[in-house]
């Protein structure tokens, strides 16, 4: 298999606006977002739920057309989905009627690669992910973690310039999630492919990324851009380093404000503190 060249895979999201029209109302999902992924870089996009981070990724994948602004891949305008951008979805999205290997071969089949060549490449990739002995299984026979490894391998099979991952480990339990993060960082270390990674898990973003964008509550704007100071290759031991904890704390602070804003209503810092007030036997009357 030819290794992706690190001079390719540059993603530029420039002044991106995305608006939806639902039931006669206009909803602004993303406002004036600027996101850049340099060739071979691992970039995470983090924010409170509903902040439009998946919408932004869908625009890069080509599923959604920008209302304003541009999405460029290696300087070329993105006009629709294509195999130059591999996508890994949260809901696994494996074809249930295809075996593990047929799923991995699908992209190559669409490219017109011969059956024997397809099989060889798929088996190489499955071997990398430790799934070779499951090549003839159907997705329903696999655990969640295994399904998502197949999903990643399938997205990599067509040698895309960039890998787009939309909360890929969101449906997994926390133990499996940690292992998957290690597998992913190791694969990335080998392949050096550009990655745009969506998550709401702060530790996950810090552990995996070179750079992190923090998004605001809807409409999603870029609130902060942070470089992760941890060295490569990443090891699980780094999660107990003081730099790691400091970075997590910093992002937590940034997101907390947005989560409160996203929840809406009368919640505020002061309001949350009020919720902790001890209520005596006389009830809440005296508070009012």
């Amino acid at each position: 298999m030819d290794m992706p060249v690190a001079s390719q895979g540059r993603v530029d999201v420039r002044d991106l606006h995305i608006r939806f029209h639902t039931k006669g109302q206009e909803v602004e999902a993303v406002r004036a977002a600027n996101v850049h992924v340099r060739p071979g870089e691992f970039v995470s996009l983090i924010g409170p739920s509903g902040c439009g981070k998946s919408t932004l990724l869908n625009a890069v994948a080509g599923f959604i057309e920008p209302s304003d602004g541009q999405v460029l891949l290696d300087g070329q305008r993105v006009t629709g989905p294509g195999s130059d951008r591999g996508v890994v979805f949260q809901q696994y999205s494996l074809f249930p009627w295809m075996t593990v290997r047929a799923n991995v071969e699908f992209g190559l089949r669409m490219k017109g690669v011969s059956a024997s060549e397809r099989q060889a490449q798929a088996r190489t990739l499955l071997g990398l992910a430790g799934l070779l002995s499951f090549e003839n299984h159907y997705p329903d026979q696999l655990s969640g973690g295994m399904k998502q490894r197949v999903g990643i391998v399938r997205a990599l099979a067509t040698s895309p310039q960039v890998l787009l991952m939309d909360e890929p480990f969101g449906a997994l339990d926390s133990q499996t999630r940690v292992v998957m993060q290690e597998i992913l960082t190791n694969m990335w270390q080998r392949l050096r492919i550009s990655v745009l990674f969506i998550t709401h898990d702060i530790e996950e973003a810090v552990f995996l990324s070179d750079r992190i964008y923090v998004m605001t509550a809807r409409p999603g704007r870029i609130k902060a851009e942070l470089d992760v100071p941890l060295p490569r290759p990443r090891t699980p031991a780094m999660t107990s380093a003081p730099e790691f904890a400091a970075m997590v704390r910093q992002i937590k602070g940034l997101i907390r404000e947005e989560s409160i804003a996203a929840m809406g209503g009368e919640l505020s810092e002061g309001g949350l503190a009020g919720l902790c007030t001890e209520v005596g036997p006389q009830g809440v009357g005296h508070l009012v």
Partner: protein, 304 residues
């Protein structure tokens, strides 16, 4: 969060191989907990041998009641006075098979079913996929189809005789109509029920519209299509027998109705049983086809 099929719980991978490139500190994936083995009695009642035993008992029960009711000429509002005994029907089986007429009648009915059902499958699945996938086609075709859908195939018999040049074609047409709507509607439903994320995934992997239809839409709708085929086969038989009784020459439905006109009670029963067996064989064939066409389903949901 997507719900995992419950089978996952009981499925324990032999051992998850550690990926060769993974560094230190990687622990194997946690194994799901195993269920305690089912008790022996429970296992017997789920076994194949038990199923065969129960089926035999079930059919033997019906035969026994039939024998007793006809032997003692049971007359309690429902009357068994003129009903032939199982032995009389068995004699009839031998008798009718001495001439090729009976076998010819069966052959003609089977040919009508196969022809009508085949056309219904091709048109129903083809049209169903297109209607399910493209909103414009749906908006254009569905209102017209909805007008015809509530009309039972049997109601088409007089019209069908006027429409088609000969009697044979008109009976095949009635059979086709019976099967067509269940197949069409289930296919439409199956196409609409496909998880949109699978379509997105296929498009990011470079699939064009034709590949999408062939590799994602069609296999994705297949479980619903087979539901439509099973229902359609049942309705096709209902329609065929009715058409043969009303307008027919030849066919097992005609055989049964003719027996009634000739007051040949044993032949009436024989015709009914033959229709039942043919219907059973046809739906069995569809189940078998479904299992062959959807190998992934036997793993996830057991035999359908």
């Amino acid at each position: 969060m997507s719900a995992l099929p419950h089978e996952i719980d009981s499925y324990a991978p032999p051992r998850v191989a550690t990926p060769t490139h993974v560094g230190q500190g990687v622990t194997p994936l946690p194994l799901p907990p195993r269920h305690s083995p089912p008790r022996r009695a429970a296992r017997f009642w789920h076994s194949r041998a038990a199923a065969v035993l129960m089926a035999t008992l079930s059919i033997a029960g019906v035969l026994l009641f039939w024998q007793l009711a006809t032997h003692y000429k049971l007359d309690a509002y429902i009357r068994f006075n003129n009903i032939p005994t199982p032995a009389q029907v068995l004699e009839k089986v031998v008798e009718v098979n001495q001439s090729p007429k009976f076998a010819t009648n069966i052959g003609i009915s089977v040919r009508r079913i196969l022809l009508g059902f085949l056309v219904a499958t091709v048109l129903g699945v083809g049209l169903g996929v297109v209607i399910g996938r493209y909103r414009i086609v749906r908006a254009l075709a569905m209102p017209a189809l909805e007008v015809f859908r509530p009309i039972p195939a049997i109601a088409w018999v007089p019209m069908s005789i006027m429409l088609w040049p000969d009697n044979e074609v008109s009976i095949v047409f009635i059979t086709f109509l019976g099967a067509f709507f269940p197949i069409l509607l289930n296919t439409v439903h199956g196409v609409e029920a496909i998880d949109p994320v699978l379509l997105r995934a296929a498009r990011t992997l470079g699939a064009g519209e034709a590949s999408l239809l062939r590799h994602v839409v069609l296999p994705g709708a297949l479980p619903h299509i087979f539901t439509g085929l099973a229902v359609g086969m049942g309705v096709a038989w209902v329609s065929l027998i009715a058409a043969e009784m009303i307008s027919g020459q030849f066919g097992i439905g005609y055989f049964t109705w003719e027996a009634y006109s000739l007051i040949s009670y044993a032949e009436i029963a024989l015709g009914m049983i033959t229709i039942g067996v043919l219907g059973l064989l046809c739906s069995g064939a569809i189940r078998l086809l479904a299992r062959l066409a959807m190998p992934w389903q036997t793993h996830s949901q057991g035999a359908r």
